[in-house]
Symmetry: none
Subunit: 240 residues, 2 copies
């Protein structure tokens, strides 16, 4: 009889993910000292860089990185002190800030973006077949975490390059996210997606077109026998 602990596979996976998390944290701090840029600060720079052009306030940063607003506020001010971020007034709201990168900040952000690439050699130890399965598994997990609100939500699907509007027949979940590979409903769009990556303008315009067209149809709901109205609308507005 083996005397090894009888932990099931799932628990051992959790332990393993923890190890990876440990590596991430450790590495983040290691580099922190070199670049005078702590983990949180680096992530804020990356986030601001990814959302350049949008008006990103303290709250948006806090939400994206799963921090409280005070914590985000302090970290941002540290970056301001270092001359990498500056405050622009929001056109709409005199209370709100629009944090933007300075020229030096953009350079820092470029460097910070690759901070996790030290994991790439480890990933390369998997053969291509394993990588695909591993990625698919990660996506499944991330989706569950998102649904359970364990992962912060970062940006709107509508501006995301992974977003595919109106491709399913299910009226509850007509859209599709190509990153987590799962259907999305309209109410999911209100939330922001933690896997968001800004789409190019063409894609964004395309998405917007489809959404606005369909919404018009939606205003005039038709119910067929056993056929949901949105399905008909989606089918008609779908485009290749």
């Amino acid at each position: 009889m083996p005397t090894h602990d009888e932990l099931d596979v799932a628990k051992r996976i959790v332990i393993g993910l923890n190890k990876i998390g440990l590596a991430l944290r450790h590495h983040a701090w290691q580099k922190a000292d070199k670049a005078r840029l702590t983990p949180t600060q680096g992530q804020i720079l990356s986030f601001l860089d990814a959302h350049a052009g949008e008006c990103v306030g303290t709250s948006a940063v806090a939400e994206a990185l799963a921090l409280t607003r005070p914590t985000a506020s302090e970290a941002i001010h540290a970056l301001v002190q270092k001359g990498w971020v500056k405050r622009e007034p929001s056109p709409a709201d005199r209370r709100a800030a629009c944090w933007t990168l300075t020229e030096a900040g953009r350079r820092q952000a470029e460097a910070a973006k690759t901070w996790a690439d030290f994991l790439l050699p480890a990933v390369a130890a998997l053969d291509p077949n394993e990588q695909v399965i591993f990625l698919r598994s990660l996506m499944k997990m991330i989706r569950v975490l998102q649904v359970q609100q364990k992962i912060p939500i970062a940006a709107m699907c509508v501006t995301c390059r992974f977003f595919r509007p109106c491709v399913h027949d299910d009226p509850q979940k007509p859209h599709h996210c190509a990153f987590v590979d799962a259907p999305l409903g309209d109410r999911d769009l209100q939330l922001m997606c933690s896997d968001h990556e800004t789409a190019d303008e063409a894609h964004a315009a395309h998405v917007w077109n489809i959404l606005t067209q369909r919404r018009r149809r939606h205003d005039d709901p038709r119910v067929h026998d056993g056929v949901p109205d949105a399905a008909a609308g989606a089918a008609e507005t779908r485009r290749d």
Copy 2:
């Protein structure tokens, strides 16, 4: 055909692992407040509990959690203040400490042990076959990180001198543990084995070779579930 393939699989895996890391950190701090136990402190309690009976000093803790000794020292003293850890003298060395849990500390450790279990529902989203592959992939990655000194040593089968990979014909239990003298399957591979003893380099390299080559010889056909043949073919061609 997906249009979102601009990033290769490896980079998306890194992004995904980052997300999991974010969830881990966030969740750790959430619970921290409830239990008046910060992430590092919780991990120290777990570690001491797992190594009860051994003489664990400050350095050992620091190494296991990838902290500097001063950081570990401070965290331990916070736990002493709370009455969960006490110092015992080392029999051999009057400088060294043997940190041990108090009765209350053992109770706290028991609770702290499950802190990452919030990930279990996410893991459960994977089917059993995926779980096994995911676990094996994690171990491969962790081993690379260990070799690169990016992560403290983990007590994994893959680095253990008692581990004999692929010595049985039973595809369910191809490996063998020479310590408990019992066959092991992929699902039995350990990440935190209490009987682990680090193998010498020759043995480690040998194990690694066999594990990475094995897939072509007799792999479980279910592994290829849902994955294009091209991927398996690529795996096929990658050995000398």
